[in-house]
């Protein structure tokens, strides 16, 4: 991470301050907690989080493993990216599979094409319990959803993994207080104050690599529930859903059967930044079926222990 370049400019901008704050949080949690882990999905936010974690502890190795909750319904480009980036970072990658939770009878099998998004919570909490993790870093941002907008940077979870939005710890100044009792854990969100646009500007500034599906490409898609879904092993077109070949990209990365593509010609970071700056639909609103179930879909999932 270190270069020999000497920066002569003494000005700091909002990206410098966001980066510094995130690094501060990463170091503070690692210092106060016994067994942290970083949740890494291969999406842009967790990619930025991993990038910041490497910076925070360079030139030493990453002082914690990275954990992916694998629904088995991911885009193959994202899994390839996940493995490559984790290896390059020298990180120990733990993959916890939702399929294993299904096979063990921990969750009901939704069928080969059913949504597995909500099932991830059980797999995540089981993985946290099994390895005694007391802190899990996540790439969630407060601008993503109105329930996330309410959450502390260090978010306390009880022994059942639950979040209680009415009983959050006061979080004053930058005195992040990470002490928990056995069985309880924290979620730590170093990107809390970043917006989607900040993330993209930072990725451009840092010249980071991302999964190819974030950039515009041609793909077979169908229109379902007002979302463009990629035709593939988890999305079978119904007779009323004609397949179209369109130029698309993905604004978020989730399961292939609940993450919609957006029509786009943005094939470079600069073009994506322009697009995001002018967007009139939020990234989750545009592309995530998992948030559409009810007014408080995210709050309900978070209370159960979701990311």
């Amino acid at each position: 991470m270190r270069t020999d370049a000497v920066h002569t400019s003494f000005m700091t901008d909002h990206l410098d301050l966001l980066e510094s704050h995130a690094i501060f949080i990463l170091r503070e949690v690692v210092a106060e907690c016994e067994r942290p882990v970083l949740l890494f999905s291969g999406g842009k936010d967790s990619a930025v989080l991993l990038h910041l974690a490497i910076k925070a502890f360079a030139p030493q190795n990453l002082p914690f493993p990275v954990l992916h909750i694998d629904t088995g319904q991911n885009f193959p480009e994202v899994i390839e990216y996940r493995d490559r980036v984790a290896k390059k970072a020298g990180a120990r990658l733990i993959v916890a599979k939702v399929q294993d939770s299904i096979d063990q009878g921990r969750v009901a099998d939704p069928g080969p094409l059913g949504l597995r998004n909500r099932l991830q919570t059980v797999t995540l909490l089981d993985a946290i319990n099994a390895q005694n993790f007391d802190a899990a870093f996540g790439g969630a941002r407060r601008d993503e959803d109105k329930a996330r907008a309410k959450e502390r940077i260090l978010s306390f979870r009880d022994a059942f993994g639950q979040w209680d939005p009415r009983q959050q710890r006061p979080e004053l100044w930058q005195l992040y207080q990470g002490k928990v009792n056995t069985g309880e854990h924290l979620r730590a969100f170093p990107l809390s104050d970043w917006t989607e646009l900040d993330v993209w500007q930072y990725i451009e500034r840092e010249e980071m690599e991302l999964p190819s599906i974030y950039f515009a490409h041609e793909r077979d898609v169908i229109l379902r529930d007002n979302m463009w879904l990629a035709v593939g092993p988890f999305v079978e077109p119904r007779s009323s859903e004609p397949i179209e070949r369109l130029k698309v990209r993905f604004r978020t990365v989730g399961d292939a059967n609940c993450t919609g593509a957006v029509l786009s010609n943005a094939s470079t970071l600069a073009a994506i930044i322009d697009e995001v700056a002018l967007a009139n639909v939020s990234e989750r609103g545009a592309t995530r079926a998992d948030d559409r179930f009810s007014e408080t879909a995210m709050e309900d999932r978070k209370r159960e222990g979701y990311f």
Partner: protein
Amino acid sequence: MKLAHKDLLRLATVGSVDDGKSTLIGRILVDTRQLFDDQLDAVAAASEKRGVGDLDLSFVTDGLRAEREQGITIDVAYRYATTPSRKFIIADCPGHVQYTRNMATGASTADLALVVLNVAHGLKEQSRRHLVIAALLGVRTIVVAVNKMDEVNWSQSAYLSIVDEVETLAHELGFEHVTCIPVSALLGDNVVDSSTNTPWYEGPTVLSALETSDAGSWTTTNHGARLPIQWVLRQPGGGRTYAGMLNGATLSVGDAVTLLPANIETTVRALNAGSGTIERATTGLSIDVDLAAETDAGRGDLIATAPLPTVTKDFTATLCWFGETSLKVGQRLRLKHTTRVTPVRVGELSGVVDIATLHTDEATSLGTNEIGIVKLQTADPIVVDDYLDNRVTGSFVLIDDVTNATVAAGMVGRASFL
């Protein structure tokens, strides 16, 4: 399109319940087009479902189920806005007295407090409490939105009478910059666009007041550089650098520094930040420092430039108590100050602040949401500045030993108005 680089302003809303804080923030976000279409649609749908009109702007920030059911704000909502020159981090804080801890959470990192008052109600006790806490927390700039002007028929005399009350209190509390603005958050008058209903008012709108205030003021005090050590990084070849976030003043290669509490004088040999090696670090940056002297410094120690802070185990502090049971003399807790955690004992309770008069009265215990002056004794020495001189080295939290709950916000020293 090249996006210009921006500075960052953190602001918190302050004021009593039902005076319109969330509605004002909703109005700012809607009128500056910070909300996406689907978010606006969701607010409209929620408004209809709860029978509160076409678009209840408070639902923009009141995102929890219980908040929407009860029509109140329970916890801080963080929202973001950008204008061509500035990124805003907005903490929309609750007004209810039982959620004072959440209000303090939002205000503790604010550069500016956006005070919202109901023109018809004057300065309620809860508004006074919030202003006192904002002042205690070191906020120096307030923008006061005198709200619900539409309900008093845009009366200048009603506006002026509350402004008079606010300015008197603001002066007592030592705020340096006070801007009062007559607004209707509901209708949008003087929020983003100037109102035609207030021809007698010539000042800025709320947005332009926010855009022209000083940003980033709370990490810079020019009372010496402070680097609380968070983590020791081992460098190839056996050296060590000390990592932390800089505050107070800039730090440059070659600066004379003192490592505390060991009191070792040395100099800065090199500085690194996220971007690589740097010659000079500004406040708010996470850096790591290579020192000329060999030391055994570690987490909890502090690197400082003159004027130096104080090493102490016994000090006076102002407390906002959030615990559910009262604080009593002799009670033992844990204290987290910068990057050090140490056992602490309450040696003496010197007084409890009466919000109405700002006098401190004698007391034997400190109740929930009360503000008091205490003497504390720590097990290990801590390195402190008076809170007025530095918000990082002057602040601490108290932690319950059994539940690990954060039960108090503490400020070293005594505020000038107490």
